[in-house]
């Protein structure tokens, strides 16, 4: 075809292409709608580049295998939806606790439970933050286009390696199944982060000793460091401890390594916020309708701005606060019953009116519905 640079690609396909570009060479998964295309493409494409794919016996095993693959030194990922994301939570917590880099794709579908398997929703926003037990920090990224799904998957791997933390690509059925024109870059133009290896000699290296950013440098299995990984709270040497001071340090480090580096991790798109009376705060597939609604409002002469978090977790309180400070209202359209509105309300702390626009019909929000909410503010 004459125009090679722009290709038609589905969101799920872009995710897999992004993962391959980022160096992902091990995929373990279990079929579940609407994420299955990612597994199918991984099965087809990975062996061509010398990578490996395995269809595991269940979602729990898939997450476990991904953690194992990463410890063996290979960039690893899995993809899932709704119920599968729930099942992965225990081993996701293990990966967080073990500072083990990996990427988990969640193509959100309508829930709770089996819900509406092929219908779009954004009901896992809080689960992505707090789904596993105990306290921890996590990174989740939310694409709003097929092209962004490609780039954010690469970024997910980069952040995962830099901060030694699982990164969730929290997408939705709208983006996962949509096809759009994507301009694929030359691989040489991409920034791909590789795993930092320990510099201390074998025998002296402490696998969980943090660097200045709070991130340890774990070796790979087979490198000869002969280290120990456990899900028990552990000291810097990797072995279990119940020393209160060390336990406190270990748990806080897992949260602080994310929050202390938030400016490096966080990204958001902001349009026409400065003169706006109203800010529409939206993310993922829904942000497409929201952006349209904002344009329609501007055409009508309404002063409306647009704030789209691309990094959804960690939540950047300060940036959101700055964007909504002094505004008449912030409108939050989302395909759930107000999961991110909760976060914005926490930040607004009563100083700006927070208006959730929620929809749980299994359909997406339309620009008209969001525009109506904007017009109601006046």
């Amino acid at each position: 075809m004459p125009n090679q640079s722009r290709v038609l690609m589905q969101g799920n396909e872009a995710i897999l292409e992004g993962a391959l570009a980022a160096g992902m060479r091990f995929y373990a998964g279990y079929p579940i709608t609407p994420s299955t295309e990612i597994a199918e493409l991984a099965a087809e494409r990975l062996p061509k580049v010398g990578g490996r794919f395995i269809q595991m016996e269940d979602e729990i095993a898939s997450m476990a295998a991904v953690v194992g693959g990463s410890l063996a030194g290979v960039k690893s990922m899995t993809a899932t939806s709704g119920p599968g994301f729930s099942l992965k939570q225990e081993n996701l917590g293990y990966a967080i606790h073990g500072d083990i880099p990996c990427v988990v794709i969640n193509v959100q579908r309508m829930g709770p439970s089996t819900g509406l398997p092929t219908s779009p929703a954004q009901g896992d926003m809080q689960q992505a933050r707090f789904g596993s037990h105990g306290d921890y920090g996590i990174i989740a990224l939310t694409p709003s286009s097929v092209s962004e799904a490609y780039y954010l998957t690469i970024r997910a791997f980069n952040l995962s390696e830099q901060f030694r933390v699982p990164v969730i690509l929290l997408t939705d059925e709208v983006i996962g199944h949509m096809r759009e024109a994507v301009s694929l870059p030359d691989p040489s133009e991409l920034t791909v982060a590789e795993r930092r290896k320990p510099t201390a000699p074998k025998g002296e290296h402490k696998p969980f000793a943090p660097d200045a950013k709070g991130v340890p440098t774990l070796p790979n299995f087979g490198d000869g460091y002969r280290f120990h990984v456990t899900g028990l709270i552990h000291a810097e040497d990797g072995f279990a401890t119940s020393n209160p001071k060390l336990v406190d340090q270990a748990v806080r480090r897992l949260t602080n390594k994310i929050t202390d580096n938030i400016d490096e991790i966080y990204e958001a798109e902001q349009r026409e916020i400065a003169d706006a009376d109203i800010v529409v705060f939206s993310y993922g597939g829904t942000a497409r309708a929201a952006r349209r609604a904002v344009r329609m409002a501007r055409e009508k002469g309404l002063k409306v701005g647009f704030y789209r978090p691309i990094t959804i977790w960690p939540f950047h309180d300060e940036m959101v606060r700055n964007a909504i400070a002094g505004k008449k209202a912030v409108i939050i359209p989302e395909l759930n019953l107000g999961q991110m509105a909760r976060e914005v309300e926490r930040v607004a702390h009563g100083t700006t009116t927070v208006i959730p626009v929620t929809k749980v019909t299994g359909e997406i929000l339309t620009p008209a519905e969001i525009l109506a909410a904007i017009e109601e503010v006046r």
């Binding site: 953690v67 693959g69 081993n91 087979g222 280290f227 072995f239």
Partner: protein, 278 residues
């Protein structure tokens, strides 16, 4: 002159982690030593061998062994191990798991690791009880035995894990007891040499919970009893089901090499790179 069978056990242990947490008389240390001796026999590199364990008393073994080691989540050791082996097939992967870990919460992973015949040696330390949580019955607790969650005796039929794993597709299956430590060492040695999924059921004693609750005496008495109720494969072949009631068959139960999973995937890679597939 060296002592026949003497091996430098301590070389393979993280001696600074000892003494271990296991109770006095617990059989897990005996099985762990049999594994260490087998690793030495086969000559596996400490730098290229990964020990994976789940959750439970037996799964603490990984922390005491001087290799790359990973103490995972309850029941999932084989799933983590599968990821390690698939991502880097050059690594020797050994799983240490307990009866509850492997056959209750992790039963599905056991079946499928065996079905794939992935190159993992899985040692199930079967002491017939959940020790870490203080004595609840497991899928291998004998019928009628007492446990804290079966105060009137267990009514659940117990699992024959070797039969299960053989039926699922493992290429090497053996069973031994702690009292037959040297035989266990031999079976594990052969298991490590097998290129595929190998399963060793090591029957050992929990004097603290299973022994005390069921009035089975001290550790040695339990070991003797396990030996006495064992029947070799050759003897068992001539016995009726009635005669085998309450006995366990020990020995190499199955040894039938077939293609190892990670190697089969090498062929998938070759096929894909030659332009095969859809």
């Amino acid at each position: 002159m060296a002592i026949a069978g003497k091996i430098p056990t301590r070389k393979y242990l993280r001696q600074d982690r000892l003494p271990h947490i296991w109770c006095p008389g617990c059989g897990h240390g005996i099985v762990m030593q049999a594994l260490v001796r087998a690793i030495h026999n086969v000559g596996l590199s400490q730098d290229k061998t990964v020990i994976v364990s789940g959750i439970g008393c037996s799964s603490r073994a990984s922390g005491y062994m001087d290799f790359d080691t990973i103490h995972t989540t309850h029941g999932r050791a084989l799933a983590f191990a599968t990821g390690i082996k698939m991502a880097n097939p050059e690594l020797n992967v050994i799983v240490m798991t307990g009866d509850g870990d492997a056959s209750a919460i992790g039963g599905n992973h056991l079946i499928h690791a065996a079905r794939r015949n992935i190159g993992i040696t899985c040692i199930c330390l079967n002491n017939n009880i959940y020790g870490m949580t203080s004595g609840q019955f497991s899928p291998t607790t004998p019928e009628c035995a007492l446990a804290t969650t079966a105060p009137y005796g267990v009514i659940d039929p117990s699992f024959d894990l070797c039969k299960l794993v053989q039926a699922a597709g493992a290429s090497y299956v053996a069973r031994g007891t702690a009292m037959q430590a040297r035989m266990l060492e031999k079976y594990i040695t052969n298991a490590l040499k097998n290129d595929g999924f190998s399963f060793i059921e090591a029957i050992d004693q929990c004097p603290t919970y299973f022994g005390r609750k069921n009035k089975l005496g001290d550790a040695y008495a339990m070991m003797k009893r396990q030996q006495e109720t064992s029947v070799s494969v050759s003897k068992a072949a001539a016995m009726t089901p009635a005669e085998l009631e309450g006995k366990q068959v020990v020995g190499e139960l199955w040894n039938s090499p077939r293609p190892e999973y990670a190697k089969s995937y090498d062929q998938v890679i070759a096929k894909a790179q030659q332009g095969g597939g859809r």
